[in-house]
């Protein structure tokens, strides 16, 4: 279960973005630094029940990714409260955290450790991951020689090898070739049916409509509507 109460996320923007110490001292001496706040999320409240598949829709820059980051513990909200029951596995950008110099095998252990899996578990699930990604022949090749498709396949296989309690999916359903897309789609659907709490962000309203029970519509950092997925989508389409 995910509980989000009145969450606001403010980004502090200096009037000119300051990235160097030199600039900072100069503007400080001139007393020129003015901070503006950008409200990426404003008073967002939301509850996703255990085992629910929840969709998030909205335009670019509406705050969907920020909301996912707050749920993934990457950003701590400026005000408000997030409570998670169960461990969250983000399926954000696949392949993030790979070390290009290391082999596929070494990267499976590294990436699993980044996700917080225990080494002993990974060892026993290792072959299963490799065969799902279809990389048996290349597992001892450095990842820098992999194609983008191979990297995302491996990333997906690592992150979804065991059924997670809470899964966050940000537009990653279309990885690899048609065959892999079908298999990864099936795996996600199995999780959805099997009690995993899923938060799905996509611009593809058809996917959202098919997979989710309820959905939320974010607009300029605020929740515009929460409800049954068909209602939210039709309101959103009407609005555009």
């Amino acid at each position: 279960m995910i509980e989000i109460n009145n969450v606001t996320v403010n980004y502090k923007l200096a009037s000119e973005r300051i990235h160097s110490f030199k600039e900072y001292m100069i503007s400080k001496l001139k007393r020129k630094i003015k901070y503006e706040y950008f409200h990426a999320l404003k008073n967002v409240s939301l509850e996703v029940k255990a085992g629910e598949v929840f969709g998030l829709i909205g335009d670019n820059g509406a705050g969907k990714s920020t909301l996912l980051k707050v749920i993934a513990r990457v950003l701590r909200p400026s005000t408000g409260r997030v409570r998670l029951h169960g461990r969250v596995f983000p399926l954000l950008e696949l392949g993030a955290g790979f070390d290009m110099e290391l082999t596929g095998r070494e990267n499976i252990y590294l990436n699993s450790a980044i996700l917080g899996f225990k080494k002993a578990d990974v060892k026993s699930r290792f072959d299963h991951m490799v065969s799902f990604a279809g990389l048996e022949e290349f597992i001892d090749t450095p990842v820098r020689n992999y194609s983008t498709g191979m990297i995302s396949r491996l990333g997906f296989a690592i992150a979804t090898d065991i059924q997670p309690e809470v899964l966050i999916i940000d537009e990653v359903l279309s990885v690899g070739d048609a065959d892999f897309q079908r298999r990864s789609g099936e795996r996600i659907q199995k999780f959805c049916a099997g009690g995993t709490t899923v938060i799905l962000v996509s611009h593809d309203l058809e996917t959202i409509g098919k997979m989710c029970g309820r959905a939320g519509w974010l607009h300029h950092g605020e929740i515009k509507k929460i409800g049954a997925v068909s209602e939210v989508i039709s309101d959103y389409e009407e609005f555009q």
């Binding site: 990457v74 950003l75 029951h85 969250v88 590294l110």
Partner: protein
Amino acid sequence: MTQKLPVYYDSSKRRIPLVAEFRELMRYRELLTLLIANSIKTRYKRSALGVLWTMLNPLLYMSVMVIAFSTLFRFKIPHYPVYLLAGLIAWNFFSQTTTQAMNTLIWGGSLLKKIYLPRTIFAVAAVGNGIINLLLACIPLVIIMLCTGQPIYATWWFLPIAILILSAVSLGFALIVSMIAVFFADIIELYQILLQALFYLTPIMYPESILPPFIQRFLVINPVYDVVKVFRTPIYEGHLPSAFSLSAGLVSAFLVLLIGWWFFTRRADQIAYRI
């Protein structure tokens, strides 16, 4: 109805970051050992000389210095190569771990924007990496000592404590500079200049006694001076630091670590907003 899982994370509950971060780090200790192992692996895999290079590097550097300094400046240090190399090993540990912590936090920052990890992990891994490099660098030191006839004193047993002090100070500084680098990218270059200055201000290449007395008094505020000495004394002079300077060293090392840890963890939540 699915069973209700216990609360795993509550954004409004902040235990003291100082303690919470340490517990998180323990939870991710397998990642920590992997990060250390991997950086050692990638470092040595691609170079033909492999591990040999880490040992050769200080040796070559030392040879140049010995030739330059024993002819240029005529200070009398018996067994100068040992004095120099022992000091250099401690210095390299400090400068490499702090620099590496800074660079890996910037690298890891892109990861921290996507997934939660204990944020101190990169600095701690840099120190772990430094300890391994330091142990490797002790091999050529022993070879030099055997070749030049400098006795290997029983006081070597003290080195683990010296390394502990060295690690605490380096980690404290690594945390501070790497957090500053998150906010100001130009600190990375500025820090290299500061390091250079600090190196010349620390008695590593030269004996302490050539410094004018009024500068010697300022050595107290040089953070590296003590740790270099704590490491070098048992190797070079064959006696332990006095009980007073040892306890002062231990206390100040852990104070530096505590300040660095506090400084870093207090701001750690802002990293994802900044990088």
